[in-house]
């Protein structure tokens, strides 16, 4: 069972490594969007500190959205998806592998670069730590929920825009608790509660979302 998850994740990672430009451009998108905000709203540290959690999280959502349309589209176009659906294991496990690989190349880099961007917003060390932790904990849920949207819009006209329309409303709880964790730390309340809720949401969506996405893929393959 773990074999197949590892096999799929390993193959997707290998493919991503041969196409590093995709990872790098999503990351740069994140950096640029976040850096635009101080230019737009002014350099007052107090204001920036207040806005930082929201800005960083919204940018993280958008950066995740960028890579989602390709999650299944490449495999669909070259026929690999059919082979995956015909393999003698549950399709949900295959999707789990793909979601893990997606997180490793989209969510994880965001978490690693987020503290650097947080410094632009004059966040304290505590807040930077919580920010990294929140993005680490929350982004797997984004990949999981996003997989459902990517599977539902597979092969459709204007799939990318439609995907954002379907997925962004479902991202709201992650946004609220992710930004809330940093916010609470900035205002000295402690973000542990938020972080544990984020972790719970991530566990739930990693367990549930791949199966919903697998059902959507089967519909798309009919």
């Amino acid at each position: 069972m773990l074999n197949i998850v590892a096999a799929v994740a390993g193959r997707d990672l290998k493919l991503a490594m041969r196409r590093q430009a995709d990872i790098v451009s999503a990351l740069f998108f994140f950096v640029i969007v976040v850096s635009l905000f101080p230019l737009g709203i002014g350099p007052e540290p107090d204001l920036l500190r207040k806005l930082a959690p929201g800005v960083l999280w919204v940018a993280a959502l958008l950066a995740t959205m960028l890579s989602l349309p390709r999650l299944f589209a490449d495999d669909h176009r070259d026929g690999t998806l059919e082979q995956l659906a015909l393999a003698p294991h549950p399709l949900g496990l295959v999707v789990t592998g793909k979601v893990i690989a997606h997180w490793l190349v989209s969510g994880l880099p965001l978490a690693l670069i987020a503290p650097v961007l947080g410094i632009q917003f004059d966040l304290s060390t505590d807040a930077l730590l919580v920010l990294t932790g929140a993005i680490l904990l929350g982004t797997p849920a984004l990949s999981g929920i996003g997989a459902i949207g990517a599977a539902l819009t597979l092969g459709l006209r204007g799939g990318g825009v439609l995907l954002s329309l379907l997925v962004l409303p479902l991202y709201i709880p992650v946004l609220i608790f992710g930004a809330g964790a940093v916010d609470a730390t900035v205002s000295g309340l402690g973000g542990e509660g938020h972080l544990s809720l984020l972790a719970a949401m991530t566990c739930a969506s990693i367990g549930f979302a791949p199966w919903a996405a697998a059902a959507a893929l089967k519909i798309a393959l009919e």
Binding site: R157, L162, L166, P169, I172, I176, A212, A216, I219, E222
Partner: protein
């Protein structure tokens, strides 16, 4: 066994189409009766609210519209579950027929909420948990309609839309509680709908209006589902017979 047989029979578009046609005028008439009664009680009989003055009368459409917007989403998800489990053709058509009405109810809820908020809270929009959730619900409706519209094959549209509805229905409570929690954290209790002990006539007015909205939604959805049926089943004999028979 006969019950089961009948259920299946009504689930077939060929039997449901004429049945819906007969039912629509009744639902429309019931909606009108409830509407008149509700407006009479709500607008003419009910006394003013001691806190909110006459402005509270918006409640007679705001609350029914909000209820219906949530209720219709649940009903659509129910149809979706039936459709995915039993592969019935009617389910997807019903879900699609209900979606625009549900979206309109969500819109009305937001619109009346804004018009209520302005005199009461001094602002058109507050990030109140209820209003925010209602906005997200509207997004979910729009997402569903956009998805089903983007898929050319009707059966695939039904199944994909159904799956989205089920995912949405799981998420709605999560979204509601996270927004609520976020809201209390940020706003404190400054904005709170005061739960004034509602006069009995007011409650009656609200219930009557809710019944009116409910019956109205059924009537419109049935109208819409009949068109969808004709379109989807245009190659079947029963539709050809109807078209040849010159029905308006």
């Amino acid at each position: 066994m006969t019950d089961r047989f009948n259920l299946y029979r009504f689930a077939s578009p060929a039997t449901f189409y004429p049945l819906a046609g007969t039912l629509i005028p009744y639902f429309a008439a019931i909606a009108a009766v409830f509407g008149i009664a509700g407006l009479y009680v709500g607008m003419l009989v009910a006394p003013t609210d001691f806190q909110q003055g006459e402005g509270y009368r918006i409640i007679f459409i705001h609350v029914p519209a909000s209820w219906l917007s949530m209720f219709i989403y649940l009903v659509m998800a129910g149809w979706a579950a039936i459709g995915l489990a039993f592969n019935t053709r009617l389910s997807g058509m019903m879900a699609q027929a209900l979606a625009p009405t549900g979206a309109l109810m969500a819109f009305l809820s937001l619109w009346t909420g804004a018009l209520w908020g302005k005199p009461m809270w001094g602002t058109w929009w507050v990030w109140d948990a209820r209003l925010t959730s209602e906005l997200i619900l509207l997004f979910l409706y729009i997402g569903y309609m956009a998805l089903t519209a983007a898929i050319d094959d009707a059966r695939r549209a039904d199944k994909a839309g159904g799956l989205l509805l089920l995912v949405g229905v799981v998420n709605v409570p999560i979204i509601y509680f996270s927004v609520k929690w976020w809201n209390t954290l940020h706003q404190g209790s400054s904005v709170n709908l005061t739960k004034s002990s509602m006069a009995e006539t007011m409650l009656w007015g609200m219930l009557l209006m809710a019944m009116c909205f409910w019956m109205y939604s059924i009537a419109v959805a049935l109208m819409r589902v009949r068109t969808i049926m004709l379109e989807r089943e245009r190659h079947t004999d029963w539709v050809k017979a109807i078209l040849a028979g010159g029905e308006q």
